[in-house]
């Protein structure tokens, strides 16, 4: 252990060790990346650093690099603070965990709140003056920037673990068994530094989410406390929003299904978040994917107005249960006009998929 103030190193002995070191934002390996006013967002402190910098003033133009959920949420926050916001992503869509047509809805939502998108553009370097960032150079243009926010994903903090000889897995995360024990007896791992298992693809999987960290931590803690608990795995369920548009996904997306060599059918439906005649009903788009033939549910995606995102939990639960889309049709879900149409939008989508099997 090294003291953060001095550099006093000391040794602590243990009977059991839990590694819960989380993940760190990926910093791009391009010239100028170490300039000031380029911020990654990871901890509460890193968020406060951005807040303090904005409060200091002189910031008008922001560029967000990366269109994942952190990039989106930061774009929303900066728009709400009245900044001029541009977002770049090397891929042709934002929210790469969604299929193309669903990602396009999110792009539109960003444009609708005034974010300028530069998609399929690769970050080349940062322009700087006296060590401060002044612009973002892509392979197509230079965008002036007073502040840059990085949303390029996260990498597990496993350098220490790896150096100590603890076996690593997907994306360098710590390999664990169902009880969250690493390959070395007495050493456990949980959260963003640890590997997961994908319940639909049945393969090792890495995802950095607080939901998973809390569940894995609970399981590790029960086992460390002498109990017995297992962590079955994850399905990549996640929700976010950009201003008034909610975004949700679970399970496998098209490219993951194709990579597994499975044949699938899908349907995209538009419905309303409440009965169509009910005040405040908003549009909701749902995509459901199922295995061709068997009808086994493989994944789902939702983009829509308030009341949309948490409907993903119905799909996630059905996915956990191994339901087919036909089995979803008779789910006894709640209905009253303020909450949903008579057929919930996720069930409407399941019905459409069932017709195509």
């Amino acid at each position: 252990m090294r003291d953060l103030k001095g550099d006093n190193a000391s040794w602590e002995s243990y009977d059991q060790l839990l590694i819960a070191t989380g993940a760190s934002p990926i910093s791009p390996d391009v010239p100028g990346a170490d300039a000031t006013d380029i911020f990654g967002v990871s901890t509460l402190e890193s968020g406060l650093n951005i807040h303090r910098r904005l409060d200091k003033g002189g910031i008008k133009r922001a560029v967000v690099v990366g269109g994942g959920y952190i990039g989106l949420e930061m774009a929303e926050a900066l728009v709400m603070r009245g900044l001029e916001v541009a977002l770049i992503d090397r891929s042709a869509q934002v929210m790469g965990t969604l299929d193309e047509e669903m990602g396009a809805l999110v792009s539109q939502a960003l444009r609708d709140v005034g974010v300028t998108l530069y998609l399929a553009e690769e970050l080349v370097e940062f322009e700087t003056a006296s060590g401060k960032v002044t612009g973002v150079v892509t392979d197509k243009r230079t965008l002036p920037a007073d502040i840059v926010i990085l949303g390029l994903g996260a990498r597990p903090n496993t350098a220490l673990a790896g150096a100590a000889g603890i076996p690593l897995g997907e994306k360098g995360s710590i390999r664990v068994n169902e009880r969250m024990e690493t390959g070395i007896a007495g050493i456990w791992a949980a959260g963003d530094c640890a590997e997961s298992f994908h319940l639909v693809s049945r393969k090792p999987f890495y995802v950095a989410l607080g939901t998973v960290a809390n569940r894995q931590g609970r399981v590790a803690g029960i086992n460390l406390g002498g109990g017995y608990a297992t962590f079955p795995g994850v399905m990549g369920t996640a929700v976010t929003k950009i201003c008034h548009v909610e975004v949700a996904r679970t399970g496998l997306q098209e490219k993951e299904i194709e990579a597994l060599g499975l044949e699938h059918v899908s349907a995209v439906i538009k419905s309303r978040t409440k009965a169509g005649y009910f005040p405040g009903a908003g549009e909701i788009t749902v995509k459901v994917l199922a295995e061709k033939g068997s009808g086994r549910l493989l994944g789902g995606q939702i983009v829509g107005k308030e009341g949309s995102a948490k409907r993903i939990d119905t799909l996630a639960t059905a996915l956990h249960a191994g339901f087919t889309v036909e089995e979803m049709i008779n789910l006894d879900l709640g209905y009253a006009p303020p909450f949903s149409p008579v057929w919930d939008p996720v069930v409407i989508a399941a019905r459409e998929v069932a017709k195509k099997l």
């Binding site: 060790l17 819960a20 456990w188 530094c193 931590g217």
Partner: protein, 44 residues
């Protein structure tokens, strides 16, 4: 039996969830959490 000692590196969602579960089950366990940042449990 001597008290068992658990060391946790990282005091956020995963680390603190685990520490609290372990302590609930084994109040006698000595648990030390190392956190390099100024906050704990900000996403737990």
């Amino acid at each position: 039996m001597p008290t068992e000692k658990l060391i946790v590196i990282g005091g956020d969602a995963a680390g603190m969830s685990a520490a609290s579960q372990a302590k609930r089950r084994r109040p006698d366990m000595e648990i030390v959490v190392f956190e390099r940042g100024p906050h704990t449990s900000f996403s737990a």
